[in-house]
């Protein structure tokens, strides 16, 4: 059904019209009429104060009655206009955003407030919202003491201390990250290179080439003479040469070929554009790319993902929510329950950028493989889960369910995706 409606048509245009109408018919009209009543009252008061003859006073008072009544009626109709506009807006709202219940029967998160609080705290830190984070920490401490918001606030004081220390540590780390990123934005690679050098062993263990990429970019940047203070035509190249001599030695083992290319490029310096090395010096997006991979490596060394998990989870949550809603309403109607606790009962399609682990669904059993039931590759290259293999095997032999090949179960290999 949702496929029918045009994706780009916003239902909010009529709502905006009704809002404009509501803004126009507001309470100020009534205030204007109250002002008029006040004016009349004050004028009559002056009149009465100056009059000494009682019949004139009673005349003034009698004459006041009808206009006041009229104005009171005017106020009532002012208010009617306001209600009318509000009602129209309410109707337009119902139309633009028909009320739909959210799945709230089981709130799995409510039982673990301490985990939610921690996730939010870390999210704020990694987003660089340090002041909000510290206010939040102060308020959690205050509230946990007052109200029983958390069942067991992080288990006693000792743990708490450790936790707050690690939190400070984390804040410190992220502050450092943002400093380095700010420098990167200003084309200053030095702090990033220093950081990468300090952590070079751990980065290398991860198979990351960040340190070299940074140094390479520094070389190229110097080479192009972007540093500004170019005294002579060759100043850029000389400093790049110097830089290369000082720093490239330690990358020789891993990146000899690239270093060789960079050095050879020096020969082509006068007309680099025409040289075979031109592609090396296309650095339009290089700083953005290197900043991105820096963020990723920095977070990975902390054991964290590059994107805030809270952001990814909430975004994925709102993408998957319609399916969940459909499922819960269906289950409510049928009054049944899903028996498998470990796995959702419906598929939640996420965009490819949100699939992090490789997922293998056994083509025989249609189950996802797990640690206990890993994917096995048959001799022909087809893959099924280990349980399925056991089920289709006769003794120590099997026949592939996809091709005519047969083989011995002992020749199958567990694969790691």
């Amino acid at each position: 059904m949702t496929g029918v409606d045009n994706a780009s048509a916003s239902p909010f245009a009529p709502l905006q019209a009704d809002l404009a109408r509501m803004k126009k018919s507001n309470l100020n009209a009534a205030i204007g009429d109250v002002d008029k009543i006040l004016e009349m009252l004050e004028r009559t008061r002056e009149q009465v104060a100056q009059e000494s003859e009682s019949h004139k006073i009673s005349m003034a008072m009698t004459r006041l009655q009808n206009p006041i009544k009229e104005k009171c009626d005017a106020i009532t109709s002012d208010l009617k206009e306001v209600t009318k506009a509000q009602r129209a807006f309410g109707k337009a709202l119902d139309k633009a955003m028909p009320l739909r219940d959210l799945p709230m029967e089981t709130d799995a998160m409510a039982e673990y407030p301490e985990h939610v609080v921690r996730a939010i705290g870390m999210h704020l830190l990694r987003e660089g919202q340090f002041s909000v984070a510290s206010t939040f920490v102060a308020e959690t401490e205050h509230i946990t003491r007052g109200e029983s918001f958390m069942a067991n606030p992080l288990d006693g004081t000792e743990d708490n201390e450790i936790d707050s220390r690690s939190e400070q540590d984390l804040q410190h780390k992220f502050a450092q990250m943002y400093e380095i990123l700010a420098e990167l934005k200003g084309s200053n690679l030095i702090p990033a290179i220093e950081w990468a050098h300090e952590n070079s062993r751990r980065l290398e263990a991860r198979g990351s080439t960040l340190e070299f990429e940074l140094s390479k970019l520094q070389f190229i940047w110097l080479f192009k003479g972007s540093s500004g203070t170019s005294e002579s035509e060759y100043a850029g190249q000389t400093s790049a040469f110097e830089y290369g001599r000082q720093h490239f030695a330690r990358f020789q083992r891993r990146h000899l070929r690239e270093i060789a290319q960079l050095c050879t490029a020096m020969v082509y310096a006068p007309n680099l554009e025409e040289s075979p090395y031109n592609y090396l010096f296309q650095t339009d997006t290089a700083f953005d790319e290197v900043a991105l991979s820096f963020t990723r490596e920095f977070c990975s060394l902390l054991g964290l993902s590059a994107e805030s998990p809270l952001y990814v989870a909430v975004t994925a949550g709102s993408i998957a929510l319609p399916r969940l809603l459909k499922y819960t309403t269906y289950m409510k109607e049928k009054k049944t329950e899903w028996s498998t606790v470990n796995e959702l009962a419906f598929e939640t399609p996420l965009p490819p950028s949100m699939i992090y682990h490789p997922i293998f669904v056994c083509p025989v059993s249609k189950e996802q493989t797990t640690e206990l039931n890993p994917p096995m590759m048959l001799i022909c290259g087809h893959v099924i889960s280990r349980d399925s293999l056991h089920n289709i095997a006769k003794g120590s032999r099997y026949k592939c369910p996809y091709c005519p090949q047969e083989g011995a179960t002992s020749d199958t290999v567990e694969i790691f995706l």
Binding site: D5, A7, S8, A9, N26, N28, A30, S58, Q65, K69, I75, L79, L93, L102, M104, D107, A108, M109, Y112, A119, M122, H123, V132, T135, T140, E147, S148, F149, G207, C299, G303, S305, P309, V312, A313, V314, T315, A316, G317, S318, A320, L321, L325, E343, E347, L350, P351, P352, S353, Y356, P358, V361, T370, G381, H382, V413, E414, I415, F416, L417
Partner: protein, 412 residues
Amino acid sequence: MANHESSAIKHNDHLLLDQPLLRLPNELLRKNFRSAHFVIERDTSALKNLLKESATAAVSGRASQQDVLKNLDAMIIRMRGVKRKLSQYAGEEARLHEHTAARIQHLDDLYSINTVEDVKYESWSRKRLDRLIADYFLRNGFHESAKQLAKERNMERLVDVETFESMGRIRLALLGGSVTEALTWCAENKKELRKMECKLEFMLRLQQYIELIRAGTQPKLVEAINHAKKHLVPYRSQHPREVSQACGLLALLPNSRNAEDCYADLYRPRWTELADLFTTTHNQLLSLPSVPLLHIALSSGLSALKTPACHASATNQGGSARAHQDDNSSQEHGVCPICSTELNDLAKYVPYAHHTNSHVQPDLVMFPSGKTCSKQRLIDEAKKAGLPPCQVKDPMRGTLLHQEDLKKVYIT
């Protein structure tokens, strides 16, 4: 094709979580109007009566000039009061109009984005996350954090600080054992609460009564009886059991030994329950979901992202750390958000996603160790590292292999 489909935004479905964003100011506008209406009704009819009386008095000659002036002054003061109050309501109205406008604009922005991969979507979605966090803060009493976040993210008009602050005040008062604030709130929303058939006011009155009896002195007991006559007996038809229990309570003071269970139940501290009842009623009245929106988004999102691999070897720390590295080398995206420390514990309690299709790289090859990798990636890396032709490097062990030693994996 399938990829394209899963990235497309279905706008109407996508705004499920954002219903309260427009519903709340709408409810508040109506409430604001009702209060203004009430003031006007009451004071204009009082004005008309006073005017009529003093005019008749003046005509009949009973009132002197001084009397008439005094009456006129009273009328002027009353109308000034009306004006002052109305100005407040008009100010609130204008504020709510602005909030509504900003929110409609924000939601409308989503309609100009058609796919999740759009860069604009990320900033929109971040804003939504900030809103959800602010909502979480406000519901749990972290008012200062919420205010600061709203200010720093420049989204004050998308966040309902005032509403939750006043709710928090009443809730705290209840937890501290004071019912007056909550009763005032009940009086303000009398009609709507009656329509909802809510028992909050009765429960508050009952608690007042219990406290009077708990005090136990003679004058307090007399007061308790009067209180029951005035505030509890009218509810006899709706809550017969509670009312008769309340009457029975008179005979069983808290110190009496053979208080039955149901009476003991009335004497135990019930403030947290009352505070929760108030919160539920409050949220219901303003069409706010009873659960923080962040919880809904999270439980749906954690499940959608979770795979059996996320908590594999959870018992074995070393093993899972190694697993992380494996993933980094084989996937472009870096650490999975569920494996990341922030959400890992929380995700333990939700089921993992259901998949009917495999999602692996299309050109997998296998090393003799059983490790698999994308062939294109291996070739790219070999080129970059300047390896001899047809040689590739096992990213895990660092050993060199001939391409022919790799085995193609067929994923069906």
